[in-house]
Amino acid sequence: MDVVRRLVKNPTSLIGIVLLLGFVVIAIAAPFIAPPEANSRNIYIIPRDGFSNQPKAPSELHPMGTTEGQYDILYGVVWGTRTAFRVGIVITLITTLIGLIVGSLAGFYGGWVDEVLMRITEVFLVFPFLLAAITLTSVLQTVYGRGEANFLVYLAKALAVITFFQSPTTDLDPIQIQILTGMLAIIVFGWMTYARVIRGNILTVKEQEYAVAAKLIGASDIRILFRHLLPNAVFPVVVLASMDIGSYVLTFAALSFLGLGAQRGYADWGQMISFARSWISSLGAYWYIVVYPGVAIILFVLAWNLVGDALRDLMDPRLRGRGND
């Protein structure tokens, strides 16, 4: 609770928290702010008001304007909040989990287990993140496009259960597959930092007296890991993870912008901005296509960055002056 109090006192983190709460409210209230059409199959597909290719400026009917194909921008921005939360949180949870497992095993057992795991981590780290995500997304989309049932499909279905809250027996439709491949690609290349950090922390904590004492008494490995090492090593990972939610949302938005993540017409901020690519020379007139979703992304990522930054600042003095305040 001390942490929470200090978070609220700091002005920048307060702004971050307020922004985040604002987004949460918008996400929950989405059906009221931008009601979906009565007979739409998928409420995440932005409703279209006609089929004209000319984007229309903000008006009473469409407070934020429409894109080409007449997708309502306000609807996209509001429901896109849900997509952003889902994608960001699911990716962060899974990457943190993988990183925790790999890092804990490496740090705790040491020796050749550590060597092997760390070499594997290094190889994954060689790939520049966005490039790797783009590469894997296109590979996975080719594979999924074939429509056979295999291990990867089960993986995607499992991911769909967490992301879309649907039962494991439902089949995936192509729209979801595109989003899931993007998420999978980011997950595969996103866990390495956590693994390293946790490993480093466990290595440090392992030498502490209480850990050595526990081992001397004869505590089992698992017990030592869970009760002594992890609780002390986890907080830095929590901080890193909270800052990374923003960056995962950014990467996913970049994938959608390039055409690889969410499909055309889906309520995702990056996807909506990709509409602007066809109107570069007349962007002055069609500014709303870029500005509204763009501001949404910026504020969302900013919020997470501010909160994560404040958490990190909180952590530093605690590390240096152990338990002073």
Partner: protein, 354 residues
Amino acid sequence: MLSFIIRRLLILPLLLIAVTILIFSMLSMLTPYERASLYVQDIPKRQGAMEGIIKKYGLDEPVPVQYWRWMTGTKDEKTGKVEGGVLSGNLGWSKTGKGTVWEVIARRLPATAELALWTAIPMVGIGVYLGIVSAVNHNKLIDQVLRVFSIVGWSIPVFVFGLLVLMFFYAKLGWFPPGRLSDWAIQIVQSTGFIQYTKMYSIDALLNGRIDIFWDALRHLILPVLTLAYLDWAYLLRVTRSSMLDTLNQDYMTTARAKGLSENKVIMRHAVPNALIPVVTVGALMLIALLNGVVITETIFNIPGMGSFLAESALSLDVVSVLGVTMFNCLILLLGNLIVDIMYGIIDPRIRLQ
């Protein structure tokens, strides 16, 4: 020192092999039909011919055998023709680029290299400078302003920034257009009188003595450079700032001041060199950020470089091209990391003695 460099050089091929294994495992998720572009240019329409190709290049053999072939090349038993593998630079045929992957990379590399070159200097220079200013004026107004600027900068996606900047400076003001050169300049560059030494238009213009083309190239470069650099200024600023803050608190700083040195000397001669050590390691991260940022920047500003090639191939699911470019990028990254590590060893004697 030498053993340090040798150790790093020895690990490099191992990492490269690991990278190729990872890339190949992604390749093997594809069917033999899809992988045929690794070897042949035109996928034949007749079913029989396709099977012939699969047999010839062993596309249905066990994975390790295929990996070996992919790396070392194949020898056609009937004609005796030897085709090189990855080790000789044969990365397959690119549908998107309509040439071998290697050719396309060679064709598009200069645009990216030019962009990276012009970005690196302002990015590093301004980011580090602002970081130093921010740390030296710790907690004063300028520090707060720069910190906010840095956090906000970090939150803006590359494509949003690029589009906003395009919208303002091109669509509204018409000052800086996208692309690499205006039409009139392209005609001159492609004529016989103009020698393209490096294929980087700005450098070539200078080498050919054509200042007007140089300015035109620069005009086109300003916005992409601004976009690419902006995010990394923010990051460099933070890293330099925290490193400077740590350094400024050290004891030897107090000693320097006690000796009576001017504040300027104290900062420039003692604080900055020590503070820059961790910033150098960030240089590797900057390289990564450049390789990443370049994909979107080139796509938005219509620059035909490696980044936009990657985006186009990924979109058309031309997996062979995608993997070829990725492998090339990893090679660059590994080399860049090596150089940074060596520089780090040179700058900080403590590392060498480990």
